[in-house]
């Protein structure tokens, strides 16, 4: 136990250091509101991590908990909205599904003695797949009753987040179970030696079954809190949470091989990760740092005791003896030192880079925001998406011209929960304007209203929130306009009739599903001889789009047109068509001109539909600066947008213009 205790202390020290550091450099980090926000961020993944701790102590693992969270969330939504159950009854249904999912894992692992890693890997796919199948990927349950939302968004006594007591009660219960009960000792015994435990009279299969069921039930409880927190239930809820939970558990000193670990350690481990993320956000440092630092911390946490043992010249567990050991240990030590030196050098390089960038366009990290400048915080749906990368270039141009401090941050991949976290951090930090490309309307609107309540000006761009949650929408094109233009292009390229297929982003992507709905309506209304025969997902991955297109071409030989509606899907589909040698098939869709140029020139891509993304970013920051300076208000009919000239304002929307169709004739005039 001493090793665990030591690791808890060391990790507690790191946590304290984090808190002191961020209190010094991150505006408004050390405030009660932010403390409440940090607790709120940790509840869902915390429940999964607590449930995972005894699983890992028995030498098992549960990778399916995030997927089970998603399945329980959509079950809740379906029971509540479609079956008309009350929120409480639906919650009971979701918990039952959680217990059933956990029981499936437990049964396969305990009864059939299958490896937990493989079983939960398989059930991860099964649970996520069931959630996608049941909702068709499309259904998003929103519009939840206020008393239910309170569970995830309200406060007890004005300061304590409403979901915090759940975490506290569960953590206490698990602590009592693991560290103060006979049953808890049997989990450790199983982890140390399952066979010996069985001979000592421990009912091993039953003990294993019960902890996997408990893990499933807690995943469902986390799902209910997640739904109330975000105000939506969708098939992709909780994606990747299992890895956060595993990291927290291991960071907290629980041995992945079983037999050793504590609940307190898990909670400190989780707090270290959540505080790190929150602090980096408030300090306007890139959130990717959190992943890099957590990874380094993980290696440090498990490596430090081993290195200490080596330094103390004690033989390692699987030890060799004699003098030759010294040589190998020395070599290992040198390797570790080299690796950590590389890590430190790397992180220094990154820090220097981010500071340099700070001098260029973004805010300096050490001065409090709003001291001298107007600060504009702008969020894409996904930072890694080439579409948003090109928006950012325009945004930075405008920031340079208008002299505002631009903070650019958001999820690396589509993630509605993370979007909320980032805006919450910006509210706490205290920026002048928030500009968001909204992934999840219901949940984001709540947070944006809160921002407006604090006197922050709010813009939405690219995708809108509810109208009363923002001051202006920077409108580049409506789903209606996009869907109709895409359909018209398909009709034009096909000569009015024929079969076509769509390669979309992920099956649950909100924007794409809106467009598909418009496309289907347009087909029914205007093009009865145009047939949409298949919709295939690409998950925003070019290689997947490539493979899916190859399959479509063979399964549906009559398809004459592929429509890609995610930026990487169009070049992926085009490459597949080109390599197939099928000259009779043409590609169109929504993408960036630069990605598609070679294919447009050789005729594989007939046309690309898009607006000027750089101008969209540029206009957003221009409007943000004007809003903060008081030169943009409702009732105006036009807005001088710098290099874009004067643009029309209609009510509470600034209009960029209609979607543009790029073809062989004009595509070379654009570079984005």
């Amino acid at each position: 136990m001493t090793d665990v205790r030591r690791q808890e202390l060391a990790l507690g020290g790191i946590l304290l250091a984090e808190i002191l550091l961020f209190a010094a450099i991150a505006p408004n980090f050390a405030t009660p509101q932010n403390a409440a926000e940090i607790v709120r961020l940790g509840v869902e993944s915390g429940l999964l991590a607590i449930a995972l701790t005894p699983v890992v102590i028995t030498g098992g693992i549960d990778l399916s908990s995030g997927a089970l969270l998603g399945l329980a969330a959509v079950t809740w939504g379906a029971l509540w909205r479609d079956a008309g159950w009350s929120p409480e009854a639906a919650a009971g249904g979701a918990l039952t599904v959680g217990a059933a999912g956990g029981a499936l894992n437990g049964w396969l692992i305990a009864r059939w003695n299958l490896s937990p890693l493989i079983v939960t890997l398989g059930s991860l796919s099964l649970f996520r797949g069931l959630a996608e199948g049941l909702t068709g990927g499309v259904d998003n349950y929103t519009g939840l009753p206020a008393r239910f939302l309170w569970l995830g968004q309200g406060f007890l006594g004005g300061v304590i987040p409403a979901q915090a007591p759940w975490l506290a009660v569960i953590a206490l219960a698990y602590w009592l179970l693991l560290h103060r009960s006979v049953r808890g000792r049997t989990y450790f015994a199983i982890g140390n030696n399952a066979a010996a435990s069985r001979f000592a009279g421990v009912p091993v299969p039953r003990r294993l079954l019960e902890i996997y069921i408990a893990s499933g039930v807690l995943a469902a409880l986390a799902a209910i809190i997640y739904v109330a927190h975000l105000g939506q239930a969708k098939a992709d809820a909780g994606t990747g949470y299992e890895l956060i939970a595993v990291t927290a558990v291991v960071l907290g000193g629980t041995a992945i091989t079983g037999g050793r670990g504590t609940i307190a350690g898990t909670i400190i481990g989780l707090a270290t990760m959540v505080v790190l993320q929150n602090g980096l956000r408030l300090a306007a440092l890139p959130a990717e740092l959190a992943g890099v630092l957590t990874g380094a911390l993980l290696i440090l946490a498990i490596g430090a005791p081993r290195v200490r043992a080596l330094l103390a010249n004690a033989p390692p567990q699987s030890g060799e003896t004699g003098d030759d050991m010294r040589n190998s240990q020395l070599a290992v030590l040198c390797g570790v030192i080299l690796a950590s030196a590389a890590l430190i050098a790397g992180s220094n390089w990154w820090l220097v880079r981010s500071v340099e960038r700070g001098h260029g366009a973004t805010s300096a990290t050490t001065t409090p925001a709003a001291a001298a400048h107007v600060s504009v915080a702008m969020m894409p749906k996904a930072k890694g998406d080439p579409y948003f990368i090109s928006c950012r270039q325009g945004a930075e141009d405008a920031a340079r011209e208008t002299g505002v401090d631009l903070i650019w941050d958001g999820p690396t991949e589509l993630d509605p929960a993370k979007q909320n976290e980032v805006v919450e951090a910006w509210i706490t930090r205290g920026v002048n304007v928030v500009a968001v490309s909204v992934e999840n309307q219901a949940a984001m609107s709540t947070v944006l209203r809160k921002a407006r309540g604090r006197g922050i000006k709010v813009l939405t761009w690219d995708a809108d929130a509810e109208p009363d949650a923002r001051d202006f929408l920077i409108n580049q094109a409506t789903p209606q306009g996009i869907g109709e233009t895409l359909t018209d292009e398909a009709a034009r390229l096909l000569g009015g009739s024929g079969d076509f297929a769509i390669v979309t982003a992920s099956l649950s992507a909100a924007n794409q599903n809106q467009w598909i709905a418009v496309i289907k309506a347009r087909l029914a209304e205007k093009y009865p001889t145009l047939h949409l025969v298949a919709i295939r997902p690409s998950d925003g991955d070019r290689d997947r789009a490539f493979a899916e297109t190859q399959t479509i071409l063979k399964v549906y030989p009559k398809v004459r047109l592929i429509m890609g509606i995610a930026a990487p899907a169009v070049p992926g589909a085009a490459e597949a068509v080109r390599q197939s040698g099928r000259k009779d098939v043409v590609v169109t869709g929504l993408s960036l001109p630069n990605m598609c140029k070679p294919y447009v020139h050789d005729g594989t891509i007939g046309s690309v539909v898009l607006w000027n993304t750089r101008d969209l970013g540029y206009l957003t920051v221009r409007a943000a600066a004007a809003l903060a300076g008081g030169t943009l208000s409702r009732g105006q009919s036009s807005f001088p947008a710098g290099r874009l000239g004067t643009l029309a304002v209609s009510g509470d929307q600034v209009l960029l213009g209609k979607p543009f169709v790029f073809t062989k004739a004009n595509i070379d005039q654009f570079d984005f």
């Binding site: 996520r128 992943g291 993980l298 498990i302 890694g384 080439p386 290689d543």
Partner: protein, 316 residues
């Protein structure tokens, strides 16, 4: 060991599942077996197959490597950047493979050298490599590559032959090494029982370390062979590759705790998972149910195998 009683018993469930799937396809969708589709299937599976070979070696030693997806993405982008900077394409490929080997070396030093649990080490490397790359490149694509990049300048037919030949050669080479070379047998020995292997004079830590380096090098090679199929390199590749390859290896009958399994099983596992994905489309299954069916097929294969082997002998 797999050569003892019941040869091929480990590979059987995956082989039977594959045979059943192919039988259904041959009746319901004979177009699946067109030469063009089979070629595309092999091309699409080549990268997964090569990474899965590396994963087989790692899992045979009783360890696991979840950093392969992140490493795959980094190697691909590095390959593109080096080629873009004017380095001759074959040399850039060597650089990318070397990068994969380097990540494997870090894994190997920490797991083999320090004796740290591989799932934690490689999980940490996954976070560091992927988020580090995201920060450095911000997901930007590598474009404007030299003409000799796609298919190494050999044209589509030549390039496809190269990729398929290289994959087949690697499969044969690794199968032979694991079966017949002392180094290969050492991997089985260490995975079966590291302590006994050590007492028998084998260096378990060196064996484990080398397994990770091998896996890293193969991941780098897979990234290169995948990248040359296209004219540009996307900024985020390899997401989920670790789960795909681990699933293929395990479904193919290699035991996650090490010591038992074969290259043949991994080839069957990759083929099964690849055929499920495309095959379900051919059978007209909606994309929305694909994940659920994949999970159900994996669990059913595992369960039926276990149930059958219990029926056959009490020892299993």
């Amino acid at each position: 060991m797999r050569l003892s009683a019941g040869a091929w018993s480990r590979e059987r469930p995956a082989a039977l599942a594959l045979a059943a799937l192919l039988a259904v396809l041959s009746v319901a969708a004979p177009a699946f077996f067109s030469a063009g589709n089979l070629r595309d299937l092999v091309m699409a599976s080549a990268a997964v197959q090569i990474v899965a070979l590396g994963m087989t070696v790692v899992i045979l030693t009783g360890e696991v490597d979840v950093s392969v997806g992140a490493s795959f993405g980094l190697c691909a982008v590095l390959f593109g950047l080096l080629a873009q900077a004017g380095m001759p394409v074959p040399l850039a490929a060597v650089g990318a493979i070397f990068c994969g080997g380097l990540i494997g070396l870090v894994n190997g030093l920490l797991v083999g050298g320090l004796g740290l649990p591989s799932i934690v080490v490689t999980l940490a490397l996954l976070a560091i490599v992927r988020d580090g790359q995201r920060w450095a490149t911000e997901g930007a694509w590598v474009r404007d590559l030299p003409a000799g990049f796609q298919w190494f300048g050999l044209g589509q037919a030549g390039g496809e032959t190269l990729v398929i030949a290289a994959t087949a050669l690697l499969v044969a080479l690794l199968a032979w090494m694991l079966r017949s070379l002392p180094a290969g047998r050492a991997i089985y020995a260490v995975g079966s029982d590291a302590e006994s292997a050590r007492l028998a004079g084998l260096p378990p830590r060196l064996v484990v370390g080398s397994a990770f380096v091998t896996c890293g090098l193969l991941t780098g090679l897979a990234a290169v062979l995948n990248a040359i199929r296209f004219a540009e390199v996307p900024g985020a590749l390899g997401a989920g590759l670790e789960l795909k390859t681990i699933a293929a290896v395990i479904v193919g009958g290699t035991v996650i705790t090490g010591g038992r399994g074969s290259v043949a099983g991994t080839v069957i596992g990759v083929a099964l998972l690849g055929a499920i994905g495309t095959g379900l489309t051919f059978l007209g299954v909606s994309a929305y149910w694909e994940h659920a069916l994949q999970g159900a097929i994996i669990l059913a294969a595992l369960l039926s195998d276990r149930a059958l082997s219990r029926g056959r002998s009490a020892v299993a």
